[in-house]
Amino acid sequence: MHTILNNVNAIYGVTGCFVCDREGNVVSSALPDLFDQDTLADIGRTLTRTIDGLSTLRRGKVVDIDLVYQNSRFVTMNLSGGCLCILCVRNVNLPLLTLTANMAVKKLNSLLTSTGANEKHRRHPWRQRLAARRSMPSLKIY
């Protein structure tokens, strides 16, 4: 996951980025050390709440949120199991950032889905047994 975030960070003007899960917990971060984990977790919770709230209000899926401040830009991409948050300079090359972020979103979605599935299996061992049974070749009596 860190490699994916580093790819986003490679774009000129990007300060750093991080991924939060649906509860707002920071899953992975590639931001400079001056941003502490508690602050990022607060932001993660705010943004996941915002995405959920906006989706409910508009009855549609939020694709991304682009916030432009005096000197900075904060882009949030909605993931299937959380969100990708990118902090960059105000005049970042947005088409390039969007392109790279969209690629990152695809990879992160599959990563988060598999992590989520593993987590589900860990919580419910019967799911694992069921999955194992399904993957077994069926026995045939000749």
Binding site: T50, L54, L57, G60, V62, D66, V68, Y69, Q70, F74
Partner: protein, 217 residues
């Protein structure tokens, strides 16, 4: 001992009326969001008022227009000068009338602004909404209150993120909902939300809206 309280509990108009009817010589000091003002009552009338750079009757109009704040009434205080000579009742009547007129004028201005912005080809609708979610003006097909709620929701979240990361004031924000994008701009007392077409450039529109909003705050 001075009387201290909140203007939400006892309005300035009621304070003036009470002190003038009682023929009290008082100094009413007021503060709201860092602003300060003062009104002197003497021998049954308002005789002097100051609010920022305003003095006299215009200061009373300004102070009566405050949406909240605190007051402090000090008894037996002589006015520093006399800038008002009309009776307290006619002063209050005139001030209230001017406040109503200026409120209506701002409402008209916002309605005109919403209509003008909606005429931009890449804009599909406009909602101007107060911080509490009240729709002040709109030019949109569908539910203006819902779009307004989205704007307030996004504005508040953006403020939290900006504060946590020390990013400064929000200039503008865009929510991308697939086919629809919503551009939100924040002003002191309200948010402006514009529904954009796919071809719209949020940055260009934000600059254009900011120009149009100059002087509306």
């Amino acid at each position: 001992m001075p009387l201290v309280g909140s203007l939400k509990e006892l309005s300035l108009a009621a304070l003036i009326q009470l002190n003038c009817q009682e023929m009290n010589d008082v100094k009413i000091s007021l503060e709201y969001l860092g602003k300060e003002g003062v009104i002197y009552c003497s021998r049954g009338n308002v005789v002097h008022a100051v609010s920022g750079s305003l003095s006299g009757a215009p200061a009373v109009v300004d102070l009566l227009g405050w949406q909240g704040g605190n007051f402090r009434v000090q008894n037996h205080t002589a006015p520093t000068e006399v800038t008002i000579t009309q009776g307290w009742d006619s002063l209050l009547m005139e001030a209230m009338q001017r406040i109503d007129e200026s409120g209506a004028a701002q409402e008209d201005q916002l309605t005109r602004l919403a209509r003008d912005l909606d005429e931009i080809p890449t804009v599909q609708g406009v909602v101007i909404v107060a911080r509490d979610g009240t729709v002040l003006a709109e030019s949109v097909e569908g539910n203006a209150e819902k779009e307004g709620a989205v704007a307030v929701f996004l504005g508040n979240s953006a403020a939290q993120v900006g504060e946590a990361l020390s990013l400064g004031a929000l200039d503008w924000g865009v929510v991308n909902l697939g086919k629809i994008r919503l551009l939100v701009l924040e002003r002191t007392n309200f948010f402006v939300a514009l529904l954009l077409t796919e071809k719209a450039s949020p940055a260009l529109l934000a600059a254009r809206v900011s120009d149009a909003l100059a002087g509306v705050d």
